[in-house]
Symmetry: C2
Subunit: 235 residues, 2 copies
DNA sequence: TAAGATAGACCGACCGTCGGTCTAAGGAGA
DNA sequence: TCTCCTTAGACCGACGGTCGGTCTATCTTA
């Protein structure tokens, strides 16, 4: 076979990107290394020259992904907003990002939330705790200084908040994936869940009632309806 | 080979129990079906007569396990204690159960918290949410009636509490597994974590400050030290 | 500047293991 | 004896991973 030599960094990224494509479309277990190397036209040996194992590849992939999230969050944390606005801005940013890439996201969550892909979600989750806890901790400290939050241990609470945020995200995704005939009912449960989580987070932070505003009336319902449509569309 | 015929229920349970033994000692991926059938002295065909796949076996196993937890929780919920005492009793029961089977538990968490076994934890977690949410919901409603809790949606909050409880459990297990030279430091971080979680749960339930008492001074420290010793002992 | 040497990117045949399938046959009850 | 459920284990294809070896860009040295 023709032999093409590339800069190691390039090759490595090519492999990671191909892996991302397959993992998000077929899942981790369902993707074979053969899939990846066929797609790139490289040999088995080349793959194992760059990665020690299949799980090593997943590690590198999730590292990279979590890092992208970190980079997108950082400017918000470093902006001159007040603590409460920063929290709300982060949620808002996550929503708009998903809406902007809605087609991709629909495919991804359909695959990601299958049993066999628990490991991808778990790795992402563990990684983001490690990476983003300091960011949330910073906001919490700021909020304490501003007199709007009241917690004892910002670091620990930051971790708990990420846990809860992840749970919220999972709950929402699973609601989307659940079989539903009635979009109106879905919208209602969705809004309820979101309000409960808002309230929970406010309580944990001892933030003023109504300050955490993930739910924006009208806007959120539209988002839910659009997602619902997309999810029902394909297969 | 001599052919032994058993009641289907017996066979099925034998297989599940053998699976439990291996899964808890080697993990899910690391246990082959061959391991299980060798151990029982049965053939591949027999296994696939009772289970459709390896993951089906795990499903049945986690179902059974979650059910055992449910059965152990139910009497507490149905007792005549007040809501706060019930919450504390559940935590207490979980602790004493672990202490009673400490040797088994040490082995289990060492294996369960490896990356490759995420799927077992996840299945247990999803199952217990499905199974035990009503139990917690009942306690929350009782607490509201007693005027000690204040939440809007008991069902949703119950789910969030289980999530947080699971996170607490995971955090604690991971602290044990983390490399530590200094047990005193471990005890201190552990107690801190527990207090933070207590406080968080109180806030979510709007329960009186200090009512949730997972941490029992003296007693808890001893437990931690004993666990620490056991964990460091083997390998 | 040209020849030789080195590093490391790349190749693909090969291996052991594993989950799962299939067919034959034993055994219990009719 | 017939029949149906249970048990048996040979067999299969796919997969993750290894390994011996090749090829090429760059560096060294005369």
């Amino acid at each position: 076979m023709t032999r093409e030599i590339k800069k190691p960094e390039i090759r490595k990224n090519e492999i990671i990107n191909a892996a991302r494509k397959f993992f998000y479309q077929k899942g981790y277990e369902q993707t074979s290394i053969q899939d990846i190397i066929n797609d790139l036209g490289i040999a088995k040996g080349t793959f194992y020259h760059y990665f020690t194992s299949k799980i090593d590849l997943l590690d590198k992939l999730t590292d990279q992904t979590t890092n992208e999230i970190y980079v997108s969050l950082k400017p918000i944390v470093e902006s001159d907003m007040n603590a409460i606005d920063k929290f709300n801005a982060i949620f808002k940013a996550a929503s708009t990002m998903k809406m902007a890439n809605i087609d991709v996201f629909v495919v991804i969550i359909k695959v990601l939330f299958k049993d066999e892909n628990t490991i991808i979600r778990e790795k992402m989750y563990r990684n983001s705790i490690k990476k983003t806890t300091p960011l949330y901790s910073t906001i919490i400290k700021q909020g304490i200084a501003e007199g709007v939050f009241d917690v004892q241990s910002p670091d620990d609470v930051a971790e708990i908040l990420i846990q809860i945020g992840t749970n919220l995200n999972e709950t929402i995704c699973r609601l989307f994936l659940a079989e539903r005939k009635d979009p109106d009912h879905l919208v209602r449960t969705m809004v309820n869940k979101l309000k409960i989580y808002q309230d929970t987070i406010e309580r944990i932070l001892a933030a003023p009632k109504g300050s955490i505003q993930f739910y924006i009336p009208g806007e959120y319902e539209n988002m839910v309806r659009e997602f619902y449509k997309k999810i029902k569309e394909d297969v």
